[in-house]
């Protein structure tokens, strides 16, 4: 939903439409339950409107997230209901009306509009090289929550303050770090666009200002007479937020003994067990899930209350998307779980847990025919053989012999 000044963002919105999204525009003060009625994983773009609609509250947005709807939020410089929402996600925002200012590099735009160089691989959400972007808005200081994915960091020379035109002054800046001051938002630890990957897979991104998506900045040149990377940046942010990039899922999980193909209902101590999982990644250009063998650090845990075994699950050559490993079932019997728990910044988290009992060997599951028992085997077998031979000889022998001995006695 984008209200006022839609034409300012036409490049961004056209890009979204070209990516196959349907766009709905709603005026800011609409009373209709536009936001809550979505059931399918749609997206909602909440812009920096002065007076947001009655149904855009922090609670409604959190509810959207819990329904796996992805949200992209642009924060206004003035205080708004979206500020406490950002605080819920461990984003500490500066006081109202303190936009990000930078006096370097020397340029002819006002200090509130600054170019930012985007390093390759600086954020997992940015998968392409991005030219320097123009930014205007507020920064945020990040908490230590590992679910946060910083996308764009502020340059070291920037800080948040009222401009000298309004009421900013050097003394105010120095006062802010004294006791009782509200602190100074400054430096490269600030994040201007931050994503948050919720545990249910929904993504929400807070961008410090909506101007970064505007046409004007998309066409503005950065210093080397090259077009800014704003359009590419907006596209990448939208792609990450709306679940196009870095989206994984587990298709199937299977386990069996080393030489078998069907899963066992239960395993015995010291069995060699093979565990495999099939993982796909969403391909946005083709619009379907494709097997993905690029995870290098997938791990499997064989757990009963605590992990007994943790091994790596390497991809299998020749089988795209398949990761497999084999290991020896522990000595302890009990109910174990095969746990795959893969969480990386920027990627959807993969979780899978398969319960399987491990029993001690049955009475005839132990090793047999041990070399230590050879004396006993020979003893028992020779007893049987001796009995058989004796009965054969007794039955087959001449009766006369006995009769003769009896006869001699009678005489």
């Amino acid at each position: 939903m984008v209200p006022i000044g839609t034409s300012q963002y036409s490049t961004f919105l056209e890009g979204l439409k070209a990516g196959g999204y349907d766009l709905t525009f709603g005026p800011p003060k609409s009373e209709g339950p536009v936001v809550i009625k979505v059931d399918a994983p749609n997206f909602v773009h909440v812009p920096q409107a002065r007076n947001l609609g009655k149904d855009i509250t922090p609670q409604s947005i959190v509810q959207l997230l819990s329904r796996k709807t992805n949200v992209l939020v642009a924060l206004p410089t003035k205080q708004s209901p979206l500020h406490p929402l950002a605080a819920e996600f461990s984003l500490v925002l500066p006081p109202p009306s303190t936009p990000l200012i930078s006096y370097s590099p020397k340029r002819d735009t006002p200090s509130t509009l600054l170019p930012i160089k985007v390093e390759d691989h600086s954020s997992p959400a940015l998968t392409k090289h991005i030219e320097p972007v123009w930014f205007s808005g507020i920064p945020a200081s990040l908490g230590s929550n590992p679910l946060l994915v910083p996308i764009l960091r502020a340059p070291s020379e920037s800080f948040a303050s009222e401009t000298t035109v309004t009421s900013g002054s050097a003394d105010a800046v120095a006062d802010s770090v004294e006791r009782g001051g509200e602190g100074l938002w400054a430096g490269s630890s600030l994040s201007l666009a931050t994503g948050f990957q919720a545990t249910n897979g929904a993504r929400i991104t807070f961008v410090g200002g909506a101007e970064i998506f505007s046409d004007e900045l998309a066409q503005k040149e950065t210093e080397r007479h090259r077009q800014s990377g704003n359009a590419a940046f907006s596209r990448e942010v939208a792609a990450w937020t709306f679940q196009e990039n870095l989206v994984l899922r587990i298709d199937k999980v299977e386990h069996h003994l080393v030489n078998a193909t069907e899963p066992n209902e239960q395993y015995t101590n010291n069995d060699q067990v093979v565990f495999s999982t099939y993982i796909s990644k969403w391909n946005p250009t083709k619009g379907k899930w494709e097997p993905y063998s690029g995870l290098k650090d997938l791990q499997l845990e064989f757990t009963m209350l605590d992990p007994f075994i943790r091994t790596s699950l390497p991809p299998v050559r020749g089988a795209p998307g398949k990761y497999s490993t084999s290991f020896r079932a522990p000595d302890r019997h009990g109910v174990f779980k095969f746990v795959v728990d893969y969480k990386r910044k920027g990627w959807t988290s993969l979780e899978s847990s398969t319960t399987v009992p491990v029993v001690p060997p049955r009475h005839d599951g132990y090793p047999r025919f041990l070399s230590a028992a050879w004396p006993y085997y020979t003893g028992a077998i020779s007893t049987s053989v001796a009995f058989f031979l004796f009965s054969t000889i007794w039955l087959a022998g001449e009766v006369n012999e006995r009769k003769r001995s009896k006869g001699s006695k009678a005489e």
Binding site: S102, Y103, S104, P105, K106, S111, S144, N145, P146, L147, S156, E157, F159, S161, T164, V165, S169, A170, D171, V173, A174, V177, G183, L184, A186, G187, S188, S189, N270, Q299, F308, I309, R310, S312, D331, K343, R344, K345, L370, S371, A372, A373, W374, P375, Y376, Y377, T378, G379, S382, S384, F387, F388, S391, T392, L395, A396, G397, E398, V399, R402
Partner: protein, 279 residues
């Protein structure tokens, strides 16, 4: 023409006036008593080569004055920051410095009362502490921005940065292995062979004595005796097979059938022997 050149001069002056510089930048390291351990001016052309080491109770005092390059007039810039940067971990801290309206500034750093913005300096694996790069960032709306790399600072070791408890799940975790019970030890095979030999020793005696005493098996192939002998052999074979691979109920099944056969063959055999005896 005079006015034009005057105008150009003014323009040039204005352009020049927008560049800032520092006048007499200095740093002094003094210990808790007050003796100066190190006092040097800071050069704007090249960085102070040796890093400044600060003990737990020492104080670092930084003094300078921000002036315009052209006429030396003191300036109070909007932004005068001291940036601490740890190159190895990427931690950064920004500390604003209070500058008076005439441009004079001084900043004290005492590790026993550290400013909140100071990044953590934990001990690394090698036991050393990473040096912090100090940079002075000066920004003002009317002037060009200024960024001066000062010396490197080595602080006493501190606690590491706090880490969220879930953070470990987001990286590769260490592998766990289960310690299995060691395999059962079996004694030497030679010993087993020797004792098997001892178990077979009575055969020598038995076969020796039998060769003296046993009657010749003349009736072996008679149709009365042979079936019974074969049944006995079958029973022995059944028991051996049970030991090797059969289960209990299988062997009971076979045993029941074989037993029935053996009853008849046995009766036949014994009847024939008793008949022979009556002769």
């Amino acid at each position: 023409m005079f006015f034009r050149s005057f105008g150009l001069l003014l323009l040039a002056a204005a352009a020049q006036a927008s560049i800032l510089t520092l006048k007499s930048p200095r740093f002094v390291v003094s210990d808790s008593i007050g003796t100066q351990l190190r006092a040097e001016p800071i050069s704007l052309e090249h960085r102070t080569a040796s890093p400044v080491k600060l003990g737990g109770r020492d104080t670092l005092k930084l003094t300078f004055q921000v002036v315009e390059k052209e006429d030396g007039k003191g300036v109070q810039p909007h932004q005068t920051f001291l940036r601490f940067y740890d190159e190895v971990t990427g931690e950064e801290g920004i500390q604003p410095i209070r500058v008076a309206s005439n441009g004079k500034a001084k900043f004290d750093l005492n590790p026993s009362k550290p400013p909140l913005s100071l990044p953590p300096t934990p001990k690394t694996a090698s036991g050393e502490v990473n040096p912090l790069q100090l940079t002075l960032l000066i920004g003002s709306p009317e002037h060009e921005p200024l960024s001066i790399r000062l010396f490197d600072l080595v602080l006493p070791p501190s606690q590491p940065a706090p880490v969220h408890p879930d953070e470990i799940k987001f990286h590769l975790q260490e592998e766990l292995f289960h310690t299995f019970r060691p395999d059962q030890k079996v004694p030497n095979k030679f010993i087993s062979l020797v004792f098997s030999g001892i178990a077979l020793a009575p055969w020598v005696v038995l076969l020796g004595l039998w060769s003296q005493v046993a009657p010749a098996p003349t009736n072996l192939l008679s149709p009365f005796i042979l079936p019974f002998i074969l049944s006995l052999g079958a029973f022995e074979t059944l028991l051996f097979t049970y030991w090797v691979k059969l289960k209990l109920f299988d062997v009971l099944l076979y045993g029941a059938g074989l037993g029935l056969v053996t009853i008849f063959t046995g009766r036949q055999a014994l009847a024939s022997i008793s008949a022979q005896r009556k002769d």
